[in-house]
């Protein structure tokens, strides 16, 4: 040893001596299996000289022939190259084979990972125009379904992994940012450009350690960090984008045809006009032109990374302004993030802290879900259903007409008035702060402590200006000369704290001299504490003085209570709640020579939501792997670079009975509530019938998977098959309304099985012959999932939700409707199929039957290609879903003659049944059985789709040109999102998890241009 050391020293001295002589410029490209790696660090070993790669992975550094260049990048093993006489050194960083797999509370190399996980790196989702970090994942991960059901900027998405494992409980994965569990619905205030990688954990081996919260999978988000010994690197991204409504395909009336129909039926304006007047009627309005717009948005992002010997940092600042396609909807966001890593000189102590502070302002025009069909509040309703013969330019006179008469058909003018006067604003501040520390006690023992806080504070403001039509109408009822208008403000904060302490042991023994063929064991023990509190309060003031009213302010505008009436007495509210979890868990992992591995986890959790014996749940997993490609007999199989077989089985639990984080906190107890009742007397009534039997919902998953890299790693991917059985499903069980007025109670009602297969593959179709040659990669991921309810704890094994059921042997929430046959040629009534297979005009609840369809896709996935040529790059990604159906209630209303004179209708009604037009698909306008009671499948529409989800074309500027303007690299690009969609669905957006679609804010089409600079 001593001699060796001396030798090195001598060599070093020799190198130092030569430093002055032979400096040369070394250039090259750093790439991985997927292509160039931008942002990699190139340093000269033992010196302070650094360079970084640009977006094309290219670098340039001054070095001596004796220098050793160290190529490093987060998540990759560093690689060293001695310069020698080379001036060009291209390096391929150890690719996926040695990629670090983020695995629950620790990381592992790919070879030694037993789990089913997919990693999405920043490279795959950067520069996407979407404002939500989560929406960018759509179509990227086999088995992961992201459905966004609103076009509101920053809207929440529904995330589902491997089908719906719970009926009513939370079905969304646990999301962890830098070790801190965060609210899965609050992505509005997270900056997507801060994200380094997102890892989706899928099987029980991966998620069991999260026990109580991992039932629906786990998404681990790692934000960017600096590297030690890295020079300052500054990146700027700027984007401008436009957002527009995707048109619907309903065949709606033009104004003249609509007036003709009114005239014929003796209803509405048309009934008062002559044929000649109708033929000359000039106004023909598409109200969507009035309520939607082209939204302009912009984004600026600046980030800085640097690192010294013991400390590195990443700082980013982001500003985003996004206008929605709907009038008066927008999002403004400002975020700052700082990530710090600190280590001791001896590398034993490591500390990583992360802090994100985000502030966003969100204006929305559409009302909260429950009032989505309130005609005077929802401009989407009026965009869809405004009468074509009204002219938006007549707002001034029509709004006065409405104030006088309150006729509902004038509602488009009322929502126009709302846009001018009234508002709905939500401000959110989010702080995510955490610290992960570890201390290496000895070579084998490590102690760790993680602490994290997810804090969210929201203020809501809703107001009706006293000059608005709604306020003027209400004022006129109080009395002449009165003013009204209201302002509601509420405040909500949500504090979630978690802390995990652990101790770990790791040892390799029995290895050969070179470290191979050893046995490695790893064991960790953890204690976790989670506690969360929310607090809310608010007020609502009616009566605002128009002279001084300003939204969100009193300033003397609040009119005080007076003797005449109680109209101006403000109302107040206040609320709070808490929830908590306490867990201890352990994991064990064994590896032999990177060939065979075995892992196990066990976890005990107690939830505050359950009582008595049901409080604690035990969850566990076992997993094994076989790295087939490491075997001696595979040495000669050259086309196999890596092949791994893994299998796992285990259980995870869910305590979120009613889906939301603070929902159903005390449902085990029967409770009374106090309040004002008859004749203004205070009283108390039972408010909740407790269900003491509530217990953990658990999901047992068996998973078999293959990870492969073939043909010189040109073909890479994963294949997984799984069987997930959910037991003790949370669901509202139907009870008699004699028991509970609503007819439902939260309960554990039965078992459900999800089975599926997932395939992900990427193929380097054309490998570039030179650095800037033609490069084409194709990729695809497809997953198939089917589900079956295997048992239901209800009479007849069925829970009847009206138009869907949860029934043994059926799909979860399978549609349960009366088949619609068409039009009875004899009388123009609707014909349905009754339970005995006979046509009927009067279907009953007993005539409903299963359709074999539900709202969850069977097949879903994405595919596309990436292309590089010269300085150009082009990428496209398609996404698709099949096997889902939803009710189109917009279509139903467009077909409902009962709405004549009130709302827009479909011109398909012109081919309605008449005695002279008996063979048609449209029932008679005088059909007596339009409203049948039990729903039929008449408006149950296939919502399968194929969509060009994302497309990007860009150009990297030449560095030689950039050098002159002090830039390391620069590129520009154009993007399109949701460019084209192929579907049978007639509305704007086939992509939603909702059972029915009715006047929702559709997701838009987005175009953007952007520029990325690095210096």
């Amino acid at each position: 040893m001593k001699t060796k050391f001396k030798g090195i020293l001598t060599l070093l001295l020799a190198l130092v001596a030569q430093v002055a002589f032979a400096q040369q410029t070394v250039t090259g490209t750093v790439s991985d299996a997927d292509g160039p790696v931008g942002g990699a660090t190139v340093s000269i070993k033992g010196s302070n000289t650094f360079a970084s790669t640009n977006f094309d992975g290219e670098y340039s550094i001054q070095a001596n022939p004796e220098d050793v260049l160290v190529f490093s990048y987060v998540g990759y093993d560093a690689k060293e190259e001695t310069v020698g006489n080379r001036t060009v050194i291209d390096v391929t960083l150890s690719s996926a084979l040695e990629e670090v797999v983020v695995q629950a509370y620790r990381t592992s190399s790919t070879k030694r990972s037993n789990i089913a996980a997919n990693v999405i790196t920043a490279k795959q989702i950067q520069d996407r125009p979407n404002a939500s970090a989560i929406q960018r994942l759509q179509g990227q991960v086999p088995g992961l379904i992201i459905q966004t059901a609103s076009g509101q900027p920053g809207a929440n998405s529904t995330i589902q992994l491997r089908g719906v494992s719970s009926i009513n409980g939370n079905t969304e994965p646990l999301i962890i940012i830098d070790g801190i569990p965060v609210d899965e619905d609050a992505f509005r205030t997270i900056n997507p450009l801060d994200i380094e990688s997102q890892t989706v954990l899928k099987d029980a081996a991966a998620t069991a350690i999260y026990g109580n919260r991992g039932a629906n999978g786990v998404i681990i988000i790692k934000t960017k960090g600096g590297a030690y010994n890295q020079e300052l690197q500054v990146s700027y991204t700027g984007q401008t984008r436009i957002t527009e409504l995707i048109d619907t395909e309903y065949d709606l009336f033009n104004s003249r045809d609509y007036l003709r129909l009114e005239n014929e039926r003796g209803i509405g304006l048309g009934a008062t006009l002559t044929d000649a007047e109708i033929n000359a009627y000039a106004v023909n309005t598409d109200w969507s032109d009035t309520f939607y717009r082209t939204g302009f948005s912009q984004l600026h992002n600046l980030s800085l990374r640097s690192g010294g010997k013991n400390l590195n940092q990443f700082t980013s600042v982001n500003y985003t302004y996004e206008e929605g396609s709907l009038q008066a909807s927008d999002l403004q966001r400002f975020t700052v993030r700082n990530n710090l890593n600190v280590k001791s000189d001896n590398d034993r102590f490591n500390l990583a802290t992360s802090l994100q502070v985000g502030y966003s302002k969100n204006n929305s025009q559409s009302e909260p879900e429950t009032r989505n069909n309130a005609i005077y509040f929802n401009s989407i309703y009026n965009s869809n259903f405004g009468l074509p013969y009204f002219d938006p330019n007549n707002y001034d006179t029509r709004i006065e007409e409405w104030v006088g008469s309150l006729q509902a058909r004038l509602s488009p003018y009322v929502t126009l008035d709302n846009i001018l006067f009234n508002g709905n604003r939500e401000d959110e501040m989010k702080i995510i702060a955490g610290a992960n520390s570890s201390y290496k006690i000895s070579d084998n023992w490590t102690a760790r402590y993680n602490i994290g806080v997810d804090y969210r504070q929201q203020t809501f403001l809703r107001y009706a200006d006293p000059n608005s039509a709604l306020a003027r109408v209400r004022a006129s009822f109080i009395g002449p000369g009165e003013v009204e208008g209201f302002q509601t403000e509420s405040f909500f904060n949500d504090f979630r704290f978690n802390s995990t302490a652990s101790i770990g042991y790791k040892k390799t023994f029995g290895a050969n001299e070179d470290g191979s063929n050893g046995h490695t064991i790893l064991a960790n023990g953890y204690v976790e504490y989670v506690k969360a509190h929310f607090k809310s309060f608010g007020f609502s003031q009616t009566g605002l003085d128009p002279r001084t009213f300003s939204p969100g302010n009193d300033g003397g505008a609040f009119i005080g209570d007076n003797e005449d009436n109680d109209e101006f007495v403000p109302t107040v509210n206040s609320g709070k709640g808490s929830t908590g979890l306490f867990s201890y868990f352990a994991e064990f992992d064994y590896d032999y020579a990177d060939k065979y591995g075995f892992g196990a986890t066990i976890r005990r959790d107690a939830s505050s939501r359950f009582s008595g014996d049901n409080k604690w749940g035990t969850f566990w997993s076992v997993a094994g792997r076989w790295n087939i490609s490491e075997e001696a007999f595979m040495k000669d199989v050259n086309w196999v670079n890596s092949l791994k077989l893994r299998a796992s089985y285990g259980s995870v639990g869910n305590d979120r009975i009613a889906s939301t984080y603070y929902g159903a906190l005390n449902n085990t107890r029967t409770l009374f509530t106090t309040g004002l009742s008859y004749a203004d007397n205070q009283t108390f009534v039972r408010s909740q019938l407790g269900n003491a039997d509530l217990r953990w919902e658990s999901v047992n998953t068996a998973n078999l998977g293959i990870d492969y890299e073939l043909f010189n790693r040109r073909l890479r991917g994963t294949l997984d098959i799984y069987n997930r059985k959910t037991t003790d499903l949370f669901s509202p069980r139907s009870v008699s309304t004699l028991v509970i007025a609503s007819g439902t109670q939260q309960a554990n009602i039965g078992d459900l099985v999800n089975r599926g297969i997932e395939l992900g593959a990427r193929f380097d179709l054309i490998i570039p012959k030179s650095n800037k040659g033609f490069d084409l990669d194709i990729f695809a991921n497809v997953s198939y999932n089917e589900n079956e309810v295997t048992s239901i704890d209800a009479p007849d094994g069925i829970i009847d939700n009206g138009s869907s059921v949860i029934q043994e042997g059926a799909q979860l929430n399978e549609y349960f409707v009366v088949p619609y046959l068409g039009v009875n040629p004899a009388n123009g009534n609707l014909l349905f199929l009754d339970a005995n297979g006979n046509p009927t005009e009067a279907p009953t609840l007993d005539d409903r039957r299963l359709t074999g369809t539900d709202t969850v896709p069977d097949f879903q996935g994405g595919f596309g290609f990436e292309m590089n040529y010269n300085n150009f790059f082009f990428e496209t990604q398609f996404s698709f879903m099949t096997g889902l159906q939803r009710f189109d209630f917009n279509q139903r209303d467009y077909y409902d003659i009962n709405n004549l004179g009130q709302t827009q209708l479909s011109s398909d009604l012109t081919r309605s049944w008449t005695p002279t037009n008996r063979v048609t698909d449209m029932p008679s306008l005088a059909a007596t059985n339009i409203a049948t009671g039990p729903l039929s499948d008449r408006f149950l529409i296939d919502s399968d789709f194929l969509r060009v989800r994302f497309m990007q074309l860009g150009y990297n500027f030449d560095e030689t040109a950039l050098d002159k303007i002090f830039l390391d690299s620069a590129r520009i690009y154009v993007n399109a999102e949701n460019l084209v969609t192929w579907t049978k669905w007639l509305g704007s957006d086939p992509e939603s998890t909702r059972l029915s679609e009715y006047n929702r804010y559709p997701t838009p089409r987005i175009f953007s241009v952007g520029i990325d600079l690095q210096f």
Binding site: A679, T737, T928, A931
Partner: protein, 501 residues
């Protein structure tokens, strides 16, 4: 290293297991703490009043029968008005679940009250009164369910609604009991109420349960099922305490509807639910968006048929109900059948609930007490009993009492040549007198066949909505009973549905 271990140890000690797992939410209030003493029992009974005080039946009756036509702001009407009555009907579901909430809460109340032993005589009186009120309110809730959901009120073995005197658990899926069983249960409850209120010495008040309420309900329920000897007995008992005025006085009569508790109310109203600004305030919005005048954006107006009868009564006999039922600001088309736009040219505003002038502001404008038992109804019950007895002049005499209180030009008692004629006249007078009080649907259901009357909407009213049906006969399945709502069938799949649904 020791520093780090110390920190780790301290951090772990900060959090105990129970702190995260034994959480009682703020303001939790359990059964055992709810019922402690007689005052708690009295406090709890107001909750049952609150459950029983519902106007869904009145709303349904106005929409579905021939009481109303569509108003200026009523658009194309709701499904009930378009006669599209099915298992998902909002009002039918509301009647079912609403009155069952009153029954369930009464049963919870009885269970809680049983835990309390009154300390002294004063507490005993408070306790007895509360129990008596709960029994009476439960009986009232059953009477409403019986009336709307019984397949056939005249058949004691026909199915009505489930009877339960316990707090049902989630496993309970109760079948419907027969009309006779429900009536028996109601009568038992009313007997219990009678005893308890007598013991407690409860004095009469118009807006709380009294012995007069109990007797009026006994009379009404007996009449519903054709038990006229009993009905007439109890109607007579009530009429011992309430006497209609012998001459018509519009100003006095208006006070009844303005909720002024003066002479007129004491003569006319046996019981009404007291509605305040804060509780039960939106009754007038069944018919009008806001105030009950032509600028209040009427949703449903006085039906043209009813208006024509009021108008003819008014010009022939000086019927004061014409000016009390119909708001004076109404826009009356002189030639409504030929009006180009009858919806906007002929606005007949329902003014039976004109707002309580003592209540301020917008909400006061549509807040009124719900009149449940009125003196006139007792006379109608006596008239029905007389016809049933073959005493046609006796029936006519009862109608004359009501008419004398309404006509400024008193008329001789009518003479009937047949029972059918007498039934028809009783129905016709009930149609006018009890309009907008939730009787018409039940009247057509139980008397329609006897009087040979169904709904007879004016053709102009029917032209205001696009659905094809206008009138339906008393023997149409929809006029005979409401559907057991789908929400009940879901949790109780074996319950028997009414005919036609």
């Amino acid at each position: 290293m020791r520093k780090i271990f110390l920190t780790l140890g301290l951090a772990a000690a900060l959090f105990s297991c129970e702190d995260a797992t034994e959480i009682i939410q703020p303001s939790e209030f359990g059964f055992d703490t709810a019922f402690q003493n007689a005052d708690d029992v009295k406090t709890a009974v107001f909750g049952i009043y609150g459950n029983a005080n519902r106007t869904t039946g009145i709303a349904f009756t106005s929409y579905f029968t021939d009481e109303c036509g569509l108003g200026e702001a009523g658009n194309n009407g709701n499904e009930s008005h378009r006669l599209q009555l099915n298992v998902n009907n909002a009002q039918a579901s509301g009647i079912w679940t609403g009155y069952n909430s009153a029954i369930r809460n009464a049963n919870i109340f009885f269970e809680g009250a049983a835990l309390v032993t009154p300390a002294d005589a004063a507490e005993q009186a408070t306790y007895d009164e509360a129990l008596g009120e709960a029994h009476a309110l439960r009986a009232y809730a059953y009477s409403q369910l019986l009336a709307y959901f019984a397949q056939d009120l005249s058949d004691p073995s026909s199915l009505a609604v489930p009877v339960y005197d316990f707090v049902p658990g989630v496993e309970d899926r109760l079948p419907r009991n027969t009309v006779a069983e429900v009536v028996q249960f109601i009568n038992d409850d009313l007997d219990a109420a009678d005893n308890l209120l007598t013991q407690a010495g409860t004095a009469y008040t118009v807006d709380f349960i009294s012995l007069d309420f109990v007797n009026a309900l006994r009379a009404r329920v007996a009449a519903y099922v054709g038990d006229y000897p009993r009905a007439s007995n109890f109607a007579q008992a009530v009429l011992g305490n309430f006497t209609l005025p012998t001459t018509a006085n519009a100003a006095q009569f208006t006070e009844v509807w303005q909720d002024i508790n003066g002479t007129a109310t004491s003569q006319e109203v046996i019981f009404k639910f007291n509605n305040t600004l804060a509780v039960g305030s939106s009754m007038g919005q069944i018919w009008n968006t806001n105030s009950s005048d032509v600028t209040g954006s009427p949703l449903y107006e006085v039906g043209r048929r009813l208006f024509n009868e009021l108008e003819s009564n008014s010009s022939n006999f000086g019927d004061i109900r014409r000016q009390v039922w119909v708001d004076p600001s109404s826009l009356i088309s002189p030639d409504y059948p030929n009006a180009t736009n009858p919806r906007e040219d002929d606005i007949l505003v329902v003014d039976k609930y004109p707002g309580d002038p003592s209540l301020p502001g917008l909400v006061g404008g549509y807040t009124n007490d719900q009149k449940v038992f009125r003196t006139a109804e007792m006379h109608f019950i006596l008239a029905e009993a007389a016809v049933e007895n073959g005493d046609l002049p006796g029936a006519a005499a009862q109608l004359k009492i009501v008419r004398d209180a309404r006509y400024t030009s008193p008329q001789a008692a009518p003479t009937y040549s047949s029972a059918t004629e007498a039934w028809a006249d009783i129905m016709a007078e009930r149609y006018i007198e009890l309009a907008f009080e939730g009787h018409r649907y039940i009247d057509v259901k139980r008397l329609g066949a006897l009087a040979n009357q169904g709904y007879d909407r004016n053709d102009t009213d029917c032209s205001l909505y696009p659905a094809p049906e206008c009138d339906i006969s008393f023997n149409d399945f929809r006029a005979r009973a409401l559907p057991v709502p789908a929400v009940e069938v879901r949790g109780n799949p074996t319950i028997t549905q009414n005919d036609g649904y």
